[in-house]
């Protein structure tokens, strides 16, 4: 169908309006997101000078170091491992909690959702310091154990404490998308499952879990990605005993003498590529759901 000139004029007008809506966000992303990203990418191929100054000599040495030196490779493996564990525990805690909230009457739901979000009203760092107080050798838990005449435990500055702190911080990011998925879930389907001979557990496994998978996947992405680059929790609760990728990057940029920005940039780049892989996997899984 041919469009009249008036219609074409209308279309052009509409397109201009849409572009106007797009422009501010586009500008923001370009300047404050894409440019720094490019800077990091360029740095990662440069040579570090003797005093930590940049030498404009292109090299692949940063990437070679990264994949050959055991301490770096270990840091990657360790980060992936603890992020995976954090995601798993956040899921095991978050799914039942989300289900519990969805099953409440609307007013109670709202209160419970606010309770889930309340920790965000306090700075994350402050909350992690609070965990230090709880876990310390003479902290809340050990003081209680001592008062009861029980042997005290070595809790703070362990990998367990790191995991605890990470799970604690990430559970809300798991609860919210799963809650959203469960909120859309038609619980009549669980009755249909029971009617067809499925126990509660089997109905969950065959019906509720697959149907809320998009929520689980979104939660997993929201938890996994920030966890892999974290350095605060492993330093404050884990005692910086072992290196995670975030700790290494932070050290190379800020603490080591001399600093090594090119190597830090290469590490960041590899981390981003790994995460990009996970995100693509996530998008593939969600688009398959929709098909």
């Amino acid at each position: 169908m041919a469009l009249s000139s008036f219609e074409r004029e209308q279309q052009r007008h509409e397109q201009r309006r849409l572009m106007a809506l797009l422009a501010p966000g586009m500008f923001w992303l370009l300047v404050f997101f894409l440019v720094p990203l490019l800077v990091i990418l360029v740095y990662s191929f440069l040579t570090n000078g003797p005093r930590g100054n940049l030498l404009w000599q292109p090299t692949l040495q940063n990437y070679v170091d990264l994949f050959t030196q055991a301490s770096y490779v270990n840091a990657y493996v360790r980060s992936l491992w603890i992020s995976g564990l954090t995601t798993l525990f956040a899921l095991l805690l978050g799914y039942p909690l989300a289900l519990f909230i969805v099953k409440q009457p609307p007013r109670v739901r709202l209160v419970l959702l606010i309770l889930v979000l309340i920790p965000f009203w306090t700075n994350f760092l402050v909350r992690i310091y609070a965990w230090q107080i709880i876990l310390a050798n003479n902290g809340l838990i050990n003081a209680t154990l001592a008062a009861l005449g029980l042997p005290t435990l070595f809790l703070l500055n362990t990998e367990g404490a790191t995991l605890l702190g990470l799970v604690y911080g990430e559970v809300p990011f798991m609860v919210l998308p799963i809650y959203a998925a469960l909120d859309r879930f038609d619980f009549t389907l669980m009755e249909a499952g029971a009617d067809l001979g499925a126990s509660k557990w089997r109905a969950f496994w065959h019906i509720m879990l697959p149907m809320t998978m998009p929520g689980v996947a979104a939660g997993a992405v929201l938890v996994f990605i920030p966890t892999i680059g974290q350095f605060v929790v492993s330093e404050l609760l884990g005692g910086a005993k072992v290196d995670y990728i975030g700790n290494l990057i932070q050290r190379l940029f800020l603490r080591s003498n001399p600093p090594n920005w090119p190597l830090g940039s290469a590490m960041s780049t590899v981390m981003m590529i790994v995460l990009l892989g996970f995100i693509l996997l996530y998008f593939r899984s969600t688009t398959e759901e929709d098909r």
Partner: protein
Amino acid sequence: MHKGYAIELANVVKRFGEVAAVDHVTLQIHDGEFFSLLGPSGCGKTTTLRMIAGFEYPSGGELMIHGRPMATVPPHHRPVNTVFQSYALFPHMTVAQNVAFGLKMKRVPKAELGARVQAALDMVRLAGFAERYPRQMSGGQQQRVALARALVNQPEVLLLDEPLGALDQKLRKEMQLELKSLQHRVGITFIFVTHDQEEALTMSDRIAVMNQGKVLQVGTPTEIYERPTCKFVADFIGETNFIEGKVVEQGDEYATIQTPDGLQLRGYTPLPVNVGEAATLSLRPEKARLILPIHARPDDAFTMPVHVEMITYIGSDTRITVRLNEGRTLDVWEQNTLSTLDRNAYWQPGEAAVLVCPPANALVLTE
């Protein structure tokens, strides 16, 4: 072998907080019967069905399936299956996977499972749709998948919760007949919940009419329509004229009531009545006849002089509103047995007429 009734409810009560949604319901449903629970929304019919399915547990009374008490049996161990109002098909599974679900839960061997799923899909004429997803199908097709998914398990009783509610009128009529013939073929007891009286009359062997948590009457469609035992049933099923009065004479099967303005009317009494009791005469509009005053004979059983007030021609029938001398109006339906455009063949507004109704066509009800 099963003994006794397919389903038996004895004084079953279900309370939600203070409210009794189901109030001392006693029902016996026979094997192989097409049994309907009919009533307005909130009458307790769906709650009754959900108790049979096991989604709700009775607050009191006894519920048995083929003689086995069901008080503590969870839904997944009951020999019944449900067709849900919303169909509740699993959207993430294909049609074949939906139908196979119950068999999979019972760990039916793969080879047998495939054959049974195929047979069930054949039965509802969806053989070519096995690999489709529910969202790719029309409402009527989804409805048939829900039927296949339930029947493939060979339940002792099939429970249907307003399964035709979401379909359009034409499809609904088709499905009514299809369901009924399906029930004949499989020979399974069907318990069918509906608020649509026509649907219940069309399909059921027997109907229980419910209101406010109580069963008011149980009977065949003919019994429910022709011999309702209370005003609610007479009013809910079909249409009727009510005339209030007092019993002045009472015989074996018939009684006469007198209206406040002295009109005496005679009708059949489905339940015994006593002289002096307040009573209502129920007269269905198609069971009365209008004649010209000159045709009235003194031996006509019960006649009332009336004036024609309003005429509505609806094709098959003409619906006539007549006014009695003392002021009230009644509805009378006449079948249009003649095909004519002659206005004189029809009643005219303002015309005087006599309403005739043999006592056997009217009912005297006290409840």
